[in-house]
Symmetry: C2
Subunit: 109 residues, 2 copies
């Protein structure tokens, strides 16, 4: 298979897993951390910052863009990528709600 049976889960569960999935690769974590650190960024910077080939970085950027977490403005021959503030906040709310659940007083462990 290799295919998650999303139809048997809630929208919220699927949303959480989609966001988590995009954070599930260290290169995408590194890209986001770099975009947080500096104010603007072009793809070339990231290719130097991170050690992967240009097509690979481009692909990771595409996945982040598809989820709406970053946006890219074309500026001449280069593209300026940055965090999409609104969408990042929405994502954060959903993830925090999931991570911040009260830990129950288990009676068996």
């Amino acid at each position: 298979m290799g295919l998650a049976k999303t139809e048997m889960f809630t929208d919220e569960q699927n949303k959480i897993s989609l966001f988590a999935k995009v954070f599930g690769h260290p290169a995408r974590v590194a890209i986001l951390q770099h975009l947080f650190k500096i104010d603007a960024c072009i793809c070339g910077d990231l290719v130097n910052e991170i050690g992967l080939a240009q097509p690979t970085i481009s692909q990771h950027l595409k996945e982040l863009k598809n989820l709406g977490l970053i946006k890219g403005n074309v500026e001449g021959t280069s593209v300026c990528y940055c965090i999409d503030k609104d969408n990042w906040s929405s994502m954060k709310d959903i993830m925090l709600k999931f991570l911040d659940q009260d830990i129950p007083n288990t009676n068996c462990c």
Copy 2:
């Protein structure tokens, strides 16, 4: 490939991506939410709660266990799974730090 080049990233980046990866499937999200909701849990409950086959659930539980997020106590013929509080807290700290970064004032987007 299908293999992440972890050696070019920091321990923190790799850790974040490993935790995120395990949340990157709705079944594991559902399992964790269910473990949060009730105090104790056995695998059989989860097979009924979630619609997947027993070997599939068992496999997902194994991944959560490998990362230390849940632990399982054998109780007769069944196993009682529950959240590992300490490890969940450690994970939460790492993930919150990543999610809660200050959004920069970009000058281009």
